[in-house]
């Protein structure tokens, strides 16, 4: 499924136009690499090696360079995650205010460990380092939406409001 997804994506005129705009928007094209990887991650929920090869050629880089970048940054993954990526901040200020209980609740509710994805492909659960929202601990990011002071009850409500 992922291969088909990537094959379609790199032929999609709308997507290619976005890539072109990014390449031209910085003083040098290589600066567009990480922003373009973000685009791919957002579209496919991962950055498969086929896309890495495509963008390497487009920017005049080696596939190995691109893979080095993809594997260095936490926000890029080579395996797809679920439709909703639940990111529990585990760093000290959030731990002090209750992130362990929040994580445990989500694990029990979804039946997955951090790094896992529910069988229906809806939810992936991960722990992340400090989200720079320490006054809102425990904090939870669901895809791009940041939630602050999330009690277990809040977590249930947030999840129930998702499709």
């Amino acid at each position: 499924m992922s291969e088909q997804g990537v094959a379609e994506l790199i032929k999609n005129p709308g997507f290619l136009a976005k890539v072109d705009r990014l390449v031209k928007s910085y003083p040098r094209p290589q600066t567009a690499l990480i922003p373009i990887l973000h685009l791919c991650q957002a579209e496919l929920r991962h950055v498969p090696v086929e896309f890495q090869a495509f963008i390497a050629e487009r920017l005049g880089l080696t596939p190995a360079h691109v893979r080095g970048v993809v594997t260095f940054y936490e926000m890029f993954s080579e395996e797809p995650h679920g439709r909703y990526l639940l990111q529990v901040c585990k760093t000290l200020p959030c731990m002090l205010t209750g992130s362990e209980a929040l994580l445990e609740h989500l694990q029990n509710k979804l039946g997955i460990k951090p790094g896992g994805t529910t069988q229906d492909g809806r939810f992936s659960l991960i722990t992340v380092e400090c989200l720079a929202c320490c006054d809102g601990g425990p904090s939870l990011m669901v895809n791009e939406a940041l939630h602050k002071r999330v009690s277990t009850g809040d977590a249930d409500r947030i999840l129930s409001e998702l499709e």
């Binding site: 003083p27 567009a32 002090l96 400090c130 320490c134 006054d135």
Partner: protein
């Protein structure tokens, strides 16, 4: 009680505070107009230098002095970078400015561009702040539309661009040269210095880099003058600071205060005291990388001199408060996991040392500790200090050393009892 000053935070909470018209309605971009029409780049730089604006990212280096390291003249291609990769645990002040008042940062950046005659600025924002990136990009678009960016800004003949770029989840990219490598589409690994960024920065072009809060101070300095600025706060660190306070306090948040406020006042007055009304146990005063303080060490001013007197640093001004429900071994384990995870792996002392620190602290917390572990932590951390390309190694070693020194008895009790003595204590939660 030291009063909160609304200088950097003057627009926070106002309606439409992120829009250029609202910003201009309260005098925004007037400082830019002043320097472009009335001041030479040199005068502009000298004013910021005279204000003794100390960098707000953590190192506290004087911003004006840093600007002066760039080669002079507009014929030399130069760049600026705004470091918006806020990721030091306990630090969340730049987020407040980016999401509420992006134009104050942008105006500071453009003024810095004029002072240094740079061609443009890269705004590198954390990948985990997508909303902030969109807000800032919108502010940039509005500034182009008003003629504050682009060619021949306000008829001055000065050209300046701003490019927004997102990180992708790597604490190390807050380090200036790792950030520059990341901007070049590479893994974010710090560069060996020298050459320093002022001579060899982004793409090898001379580059100046400052923190979000540092740039946001610049329009205020231009508008009110260096004399006004240096009269606020402590002489060693003029101006206000955005103190972020988190953990076990009743009112966590960002408080803008003169730098001379005491840590006790910050915790007990501004942040409302300790959560759960329990005794204070420990405070990390400047982001997770600085040495920890005990409860009896908080009668100090939150400036470089005050915190130096108790062996720590003001860092990023992110204050993490812990009450007596916290096990200090567990707290250190959390930080050691962080640094081991975020080490870029380039230098052996950091790559190996942070990993071993995590393992040793973990075995203490989980009941397998040895009597010699305190000395082993000090030894491993001491062998990281000063032996790496960038400060991440030191940033991991400093909390490790200080936690053991300040709370040695608690660490030793873990080894002696073969378990965590606080395992039955329920840690105070905020929710």
């Amino acid at each position: 009680m030291t009063e909160v000053l609304k200088l950097l935070t003057r627009n926070v909470g106002k309606p439409n505070s992120t829009h250029v018209d609202a910003y201009m309605g309260s005098g925004g971009y007037e400082s830019l107009m002043t320097v472009l029409h009335k001041w030479t780049p040199e005068q502009t730089l000298n004013e910021v230098k005279a204000a003794n604006l100390k960098g707000r990212g953590g190192a506290g280096f004087p911003a004006g002095l840093k600007w002066s390291f760039l080669p002079k003249g507009k014929e030399v291609l130069k760049y600026l970078v705004c470091n918006a990769d806020e990721s030091e645990p306990g630090t969340f002040k730049d987020r407040l400015l980016i999401e509420n008042d992006p134009h104050s940062i942008l105006e500071g950046i453009i003024i810095a561009g004029w002072a240094t005659q740079a061609a443009g600025c890269f705004f590198y924002i954390r990948g985990e702040m997508p909303a902030g990136a969109r807000i800032f990009q919108k502010a940039v678009d509005q500034a182009y539309a008003k003629g504050f960016l682009g060619k021949n800004i306000l008829g001055s003949g000065f050209n300046f661009d701003v490019w927004v770029s997102r990180g992708a989840g790597a604490y190390i990219c807050g380090e200036e040269t790792a950030l520059m490598d990341s901007l070049e589409g590479k893994r974010g690994q710090p560069r060996l210095k020298p050459p320093f960024p002022a001579g060899y920065g982004v793409y090898g072009v001379p580059t100046n880099i400052n923190n979000v809060e540092s740039y946001a101070n610049v329009p205020l300095i231009i508008r009110n003058g260096a004399g006004w600025y240096t009269a606020i706060g402590s002489p060693s660190a003029p101006g206000t600071r955005l103190f972020g306070i988190s953990g076990h306090v009743k009112r966590p948040g960002v408080f803008e205060l003169p730098s001379g406020v005491t840590l006790r006042e910050l915790i007990y007055e501004h942040a409302g005291g300790i959560l759960g009304d329990r005794p204070l146990k420990a405070v990390i005063p400047g982001g997770s990388s600085v040495p920890v303080l005990r409860a009896d060490q908080i009668d100090v001013t939150m400036d470089p001199d005050g915190l130096k007197s108790v062996g720590t640093m003001v860092g990023s001004a992110g204050v993490i408060v812990m009450n007596d429900s916290v096990c200090m071994v567990k707290a250190l384990l959390n930080l050691m996991e962080f640094y081991a995870h975020e080490s870029c792996g380039q230098c052996t002392p950091c790559r190996e040392g942070t990993h071993w620190l995590e393992l040793i602290v973990r075995r203490l917390e989980e009941g397998g500790g040895r009597p010699s572990d305190c000395d082993l932590i000090l030894d491993v951390a001491g062998n990281i200090m000063g032996r790496t390309i960038c400060p991440l190694g030191d940033a991991a070693a400093m909390p490790a050393i200080s936690f053991v020194q300040q709370f040695r008895e608690e660490f030793e009790a873990h080894a002696r009892e073969g378990r965590c003595p606080m395992r039955d204590v329920r840690m105070t939660a905020a929710i």
